[in-house]
Symmetry: D5
């Protein structure tokens, strides 16, 4: 079953550009092996990640990620079967917080700062749809 799982977590301690680069490098290497694709956002000290792939693989990956000490307060925000992948071509893309993407974050933010924990499920889905079409990617 092809599914997507969307979750948020908070960066634990101080996370530098190198750490993020490490996470991306590992993600691309590992996810490609198990056919998982997706996008990772980092804004306001919060990770928002959408993982897509086989239900078993996505679950295995998610439950493995939970043991990573670079984040905490994990919260599942959305989970559903999908017909096709949104991020078919990236094994893991990073949505940067560059100035260019600020308007996008703002449009879907409940509060002043981007807070995925507070977003509704339809809002999360609309956000990722717009991400695929309009956003400048790093990495």
């Amino acid at each position: 079953m092809l599914v997507q799982l969307t979750y948020a977590s908070r960066t634990a301690g101080i996370l530098g550009a190198i750490d993020v680069k490490d996470i991306l490098t590992a993600s691309k290497r590992n996810n490609a092996l198990v056919g998982v694709t997706g996008a990772l956002c980092l804004s306001n000290g919060i990770f928002l990640q959408q993982l897509e792939g086989d239900k078993t693989e996505v679950n295995a990956l998610y439950h493995r990620l939970l043991r990573d000490e670079r984040h905490r307060d994990p919260a599942i925000l959305d989970f559903s079967e999908i017909t096709q992948r949104r991020f078919g071509s990236w094994s893991m893309g990073l949505l940067s917080t560059l100035e260019e993407n600020r308007q996008l974050f703002q449009k879907y933010s409940v509060t002043r700062d981007f807070d995925p924990y507070a977003m509704s499920i339809p809002s999360l889905r609309a956000f990722f749809s717009e991400v695929v079409d309009n956003v400048r990617w790093l990495g």
Copy 2:
């Protein structure tokens, strides 16, 4: 929860261009702090304002606005959860009554003069959708 609240009120006494400028200046300053965005129309002595943001913040702002003596006869016209903001990029835009916008007002007016109190909820929603796309903004 991301919501929009739309209300109308009547200008109390005579309201000059300076007053409107004051309202806008304060709105932009305050709303940006609490992540509220929206649009304010002034036509025919009636304010029509759509506020969007966190349910708690929008409620706090609305109930504070009620104490402003520059308007009276407040009436809630619409309230709903939303998936994304319409006015994500303005902390508060003003829809002027310039000649250019006259046709827009007319298209949604029940009566000859623009009277938001008399508009149906679907009509208000269609009006604000068209505002975002087609209108010239002041301020």
Copy 3:
């Protein structure tokens, strides 16, 4: 409440171009005052008029029109609440029966000659939608 009322009537006696011009002139003058807009078709000796505006004003106008001796056999064909006006920019437009519009009439005619009395409600609505977009106006 913003409504549209569509009705048909037959010209009583012989109606010249001047009469039609008189009707249009009066319509524009009066309708603008009460915020009524719409379109008037004359074809095959039958008037087909769509009036849009406040429910009370449209009703007042319609019931006043009934006393005009230039037409008879009035029949209400459609009545509904609307979200926005179709003919927002005309206080009353006239759809001529010039050759150019013949195809439009034919597409929606039940019988060989244009006979609004025989049209279904969905057909009337589709007709007026196409009128707004495609038709050459007189007057």
Copy 4:
């Protein structure tokens, strides 16, 4: 085409029980001849009548009724094609304002007193549906 036309009007001058009885008697006699059925409510000095039958007959009857000096301020409230009659068995039923029906009126009233002019179209339809099932009829 089978249609229903719903309208309101105000009693002109004082209308006694005899007048109402006269209206009902004439209605039953005339409507049966042309296959029109329906219901007439009288409450708060306002008539609310739903007529159902052939589009031509309902229109002819309605436009004849307008000349009756016992009412004024006529307003069309609803008009639509229907699949079957609601009041198939009455040529014209009267909904009395007896105490028993008070709750029904109240449930659909916008304001304290029953005011059909102010009712929305869905509300009018729900009202007449409930009338058919639950109400005690006079006459």
Copy 5:
């Protein structure tokens, strides 16, 4: 393909009870052989028949019936694919015009007298649905 075809025709000349009985007898005999079922109504000098069965058989029967001189002015009123038969148990039932069925006819009549030629397609379908459940059958 399982279809229903509904048509009306007018009795030609005077048709006695015997003629109707003849039609029914032949219908039952013939229709059973080709798997056609249905209902036949006779009211106001008009036949209204719904035939259901295989598309080819229903068409063959219908086009054969047209040659029967006991009726004229045939008009197809409805035709559609169906999932199951309404009249599965009768090869041809007759809906009498007995007093008991008068209310049913009236509920779906456009005009005072039952006139299937004037009925809309949704109205015809609702009529036959109600027939199956509520009507007393002859023959």
Copy 6:
């Protein structure tokens, strides 16, 4: 009531180009008088015709056509109320079987050869929609 009736029939005996031309000429002359429009296809020895117009006129025409000895095995394939005509500008168009139209026929054919008798109702409707937009006409 504006309807369309779609039927198929088989050419009886050998039908030359002249015969087809005769049918078209008569169709155009007669249909224009009664406000019937439509399209006629001839392929694989089978006529497929869609007639649109007033319910009474279409029925009268169809039942008259049945007496034409140039075709046999008539079968009604579709019948429905419509909001507007598809073939408003032709009193009767002929869809030739030229090479150019072969792909269109093939896309909607159940079997190798075009056989309208075997087509489902949704398939027939999709076919005629595509005909109006894409096809080269003869005649």
Copy 7:
């Protein structure tokens, strides 16, 4: 326009049974005059009230209530046009927190204690629907 407005507020200071009785008595007296009906719940130190009636009257009442010092932190939770009243027969009913109603509160509570501020709009609507059918009323 018939609307419902649902809001929550917190009791200010200590509120005894007498105070609640006072509020109810005043509500019944005043609301009956302006045709407002509804229900008031008090649980966990939070008021949850649904007001239904004319848009102008409900707004006037709500904005007057805001000045009552027995509650604070008002928050609009839902607002919509309605076809008919839910609480047509009570000018104001009180939903007690008696043991009997505990299961109802629990079924719709987001958190352990009843907290209307946190309820979604569909949840609020489902809650009030169940209230009307199943709950024991006080007062």
Copy 8:
């Protein structure tokens, strides 16, 4: 994935009651092992079977059945994912052609004799739904 597969086949040669009993006995024994349930009808020399279970198991069983020489002319009639089993309690039920079930067969038959090859997909689904509720089972 939980699916149902519906197919028809013709009995090859003469099939006695014993053969049918053998098929049922083997079906119950084998299907229970792989979690396949369903129903088998035999009427008019045609088998109609609905198999439900895991997509892989249903496919394995179906493709094995094809090698059984007691039937021929297999044709897949329907295949879809399902949410729950219809025949959860039988590993394989037999729908007899006893007199009691005749009306059911007739209601869904296109032609006089029960011919599943000719049934539409919606018709097959409606048939099996009615089977579960209303039919007397053998075996």
Copy 9:
């Protein structure tokens, strides 16, 4: 936000009746404090649990449960916002595998043995709906 999260896991090692009782006792004690309700099934060595409550609390509980060594191979199967709780009255109910419930499990099983990992999301939802109404509870 009121949500439900459904997951499966496998019992690690041998789990006796006492262990299950311990889990239930702890669940009831803890869940009541944070307003989480739900149901726990144990069949075929697999736990299937539906948790409902505040999004934050359900997430906190789920991520805590993952550390319990009595189960392994956790997999999120469903997650959605809900309007009301299904299991409002139990802080945690246990669905036993007694003989009485066997039919229920079978109806929703993809394979012979109950395997929630293989169930589709609509199937899981239908299963829990039926559980609430029809099942005998332990403990």
Copy 10:
């Protein structure tokens, strides 16, 4: 009835380019005769074929294909009535696994490698829709 049948199978033994060419040549020759069209994909040692045409012909072809020893493990994946053919112009197209088509396969793959057995029905349909528009064809 126009249907599509989609199935997968595994190549048996080693299959060279010549074998594939043979299959295609035979398919084109045979399918054209019986009016079957479609597409054949070969990726990852798995065939995925969609056949469209008359229900009887598609079934006959499919059941004949099963006897071809060049593939095994056949599994029906989808079957439905269709309104028009997708692959009207090819008697059988081959979707190559060239680099250009890799992204398309990936977008619909559940796992890393293309595995049609694991695809959901909506996913299969979306895949073939995209194939028609975007893909480079061999053969």
